[in-house]
């Protein structure tokens, strides 16, 4: 001890210095707080830009016209018409097709992975399926346009070159991993004791799954569906490329339809000059889209929290 430096003294001296630096210690939380506020500012930014321009839009176009009429001709030189219904039907139909693909396949995939597959199989299959979620949507758009549509045409001759069906299916495929992995999480959190209880009564795996596991995990499963829908509603590139831009109010999925997202792409990359009603309409549509997806996401979180079973 004698031969070494007096660490105690060293520390005390240095500490006085460093305590003077305690300004750093105090300012860091403030700095980090500012960083954390950026995310809040982002939301504020989104809401305020959308709200402001939407407000300008509704000065020109009544809410009634926007939500109840069926014609959308934003750039018509003769008589522009602004109804969101054609876009809503486009969005709803493509999302509906997507969910008709994603829900059954996603859920059965989840069931297979969580209830049927051996751990080894699961370990291989799960990450492979998740690859689907990582593929850029532009690639899916290309795939829908150049492969799925021509393929479907073989079976449905009336199918248009752009239509709601093909991008819907491809969106569904893209959403499979989301539904599958969230549902699987929900099923995994059902305690094994529950499965064993049913098995011990002579139930088959299918009966255990249908009558015990799925009911117990239902909130998480529904949440995964809702998030999937929300994802489908917000998806842009697939529909922009493969579903065309026809603004007819129709439910015919074999024909071209435009979604809210594709409309935004069209108007921003197209001809609408800023300051015109057509230009503001894109904010009104975007605001509708934003509110739609926000509500769905909040709803998903609400149900998964509210109905989480207390095991």
């Amino acid at each position: 001890m004698s031969k070494t430096v007096g660490v105690k003294d060293l520390i005390q001296k240095k500490d006085k210095l460093s305590k003077m630096k305690s300004g750093v210690e105090k300012s860091i939380p403030v700095f980090l707080f500012c960083l954390a506020s950026i995310s809040v500012l982002t939301t504020v930014g989104i809401v305020s830009t959308l709200v402001y321009e939407t407000f300008l839009f509704f000065k020109d176009v009544s809410l009634i016209e926007f939500f109840t009429t069926t014609e959308l001709k934003p750039l018509s030189p003769v008589e522009p018409k602004f109804s969101i219904l054609p876009l809503l039907t486009g969005t709803v139909m493509t999302s509906l097709v997507a969910m008709l693909v994603a829900i059954p396949i996603g859920l059965t995939t989840a069931v297979f992975l969580s209830e049927y597959a051996s751990p080894a199989v699961r370990k291989v299959l799960k990450p492979l399926i998740e690859v689907l979620a990582g593929i850029p949507t532009i690639v899916y758009g290309f795939f829908a346009f150049t492969f799925v549509t021509p393929l479907l045409r073989e079976f449905i001759p009336a199918l248009g070159a752009t239509n709601a069906l093909s991008p819907g299916i491809v969106m569904g495929i893209m959403i499979i991993p989301l539904v599958a992995s969230l549902s699987e999480d929900a099923m995994n959190s059902v305690p094994n004791a529950m499965r064993e209880g049913a098995m011990a009564l002579g139930a088959t795996k299918l009966e255990v799954t249908l009558r015990v596991v799925i009911p117990a995990a239902i909130s998480g499963i529904i949440a995964s569906f809702v998030l999937g829908i929300s994802r489908a509603i917000g998806e842009t590139m697939i529909v922009t490329i493969a579903s065309g831009s026809s603004k007819n109010f129709t439910f015919d999925i074999t024909q071209s339809m435009q979604t809210m997202t594709a409309y935004i792409v069209e108007v921003t990359s197209g001809d609408a000059a800023s300051g015109t009603t057509a230009y503001y309409s894109l904010y009104a549509v975007a605001f509708t889209l934003f509110v739609f997806t926000l509500l769905m996401n909040m709803f998903a979180r609400y149900i998964s929290r509210k109905y989480r079973e207390a095991y």
């Binding site: 003769v78 045409r153 070159a161 065309g244 007819n248 197209g270 001809d271 609408a272």
Partner: protein, 306 residues
């Protein structure tokens, strides 16, 4: 000094590995004109002035104008003449500009290759079938409504949407501002229209000649009888004073004179367009070249900018 070298450069160093100019040229506007302008820009950068960066966007004629009138772009392509309002705005912003014709486009009516009846139609037939209520109040027009020996099948109408100068030309010039037929399927992308018609035996669409010429294996063009027998659109017939003339239209580019004065590369590019580019690449991108004198006139106008 820089000015001098520029003139020499464009004259002597064509094909050389690069001129002395640098900086950027920003072009936006018509989607119809885009393929031609992109082709010219590409060639300009690879053979004339390697260090100049020409960027070509295609947000559409009107959207391009919006940027042009505030001085954001150097060139604004257009598939229609510039409008009064746009000129007024340019004035207001103190921007001097000049409109140049670049090439000729023929508005082409396209049908499915399997359509073996409507390969020839009269101008009048086109004008009536595309106007709402002209043939039938409910607009469910059948091919047989036009000529009785044609199939009794519903006609499916397609066209570019209101974003496009082509739409405006069709509605304003050809249909003389009468309302377009109800239920016409209007699309943003020409690619979509090509696909739609190529798959629809009873479909008919209108768009620029270039999109037809590049896809004549998938779609067919209607030969139009303007009174002197049917004329099929082709580079020859849509040329100045060609027999397809009623349906041809010039396409333009608007040059900001201020930009050309300030930036040598803008002027150099403009000179290139009218000395070489427009004539050489019009054909391969589906436009009829303008008569040489007209291009020469434009070139002289540009060279005179100081």
């Amino acid at each position: 000094a820089a000015c001098g070298s520029d003139e020499e450069g464009s004259g002597n160093q064509a094909g050389a590995s690069g001129g002395e100019l640098s900086g950027s040229v920003v072009i936006d506007g018509s989607g119809t004109v885009y393929p031609l302008m992109a082709r010219i820009a590409d060639e300009f950068m690879s053979t004339e002035e390697e260090n100049v960066s020409v960027e070509v966007s295609r947000s559409g004629t009107s959207a391009g104008m919006k940027k042009f009138v505030v001085g954001e772009t150097d060139f604004s392509n257009a598939s229609r003449p510039i409008k009064e309002e746009e000129l007024a705005e340019l004035d207001e912003n103190g921007i001097e500009s000049e409109e140049f014709k670049v090439a000729l486009d023929g508005l082409t009516l396209v049908i499915n290759p399997e359509n073996d009846w409507a390969t020839e139609m009269t101008e009048e037939e086109i004008k009536t079938m595309f106007v709402t209520g002209k043939i039938k109040a409910d607009d469910d027009v059948l091919w047989s409504d036009i000529r009785s020996d044609w199939p009794a099948e519903k006609i499916n109408f397609y066209g570019p949407n209101e974003n496009h100068g082509t739409y405006e030309f069709f509605v304003e010039t050809i249909l003389e501002e009468q309302e377009l037929v109800e239920g016409i399927n209007l699309q943003q992308e020409y690619s979509t229209l090509v696909s739609l018609v190529s798959e629809d035996k009873y479909g008919i669409a209108f768009f620029g000649y270039g999109y037809y010429a590049n896809n004549d294996d998938k779609i067919a063009a209607v030969a139009i009888d303007f009174g002197n027998g049917p004329v099929a659109p082709s580079l020859d017939t849509i040329a100045e004073d060609g027999p397809y003339a009623p349906f041809t239209r010039p396409v333009f580019t608007n040059l900001s004179i201020d930009a050309a004065k300030e930036k040598e590369q803008v002027k150099a590019f403009a000179e290139y367009v009218f000395s070489k580019g427009a004539a050489e690449f019009a054909g391969e991108t589906g436009f009829a070249p303008l008569p040489e004198e007209e291009l020469q006139e434009s070139l002289e106008l540009i060279q005179a900018i100081d």
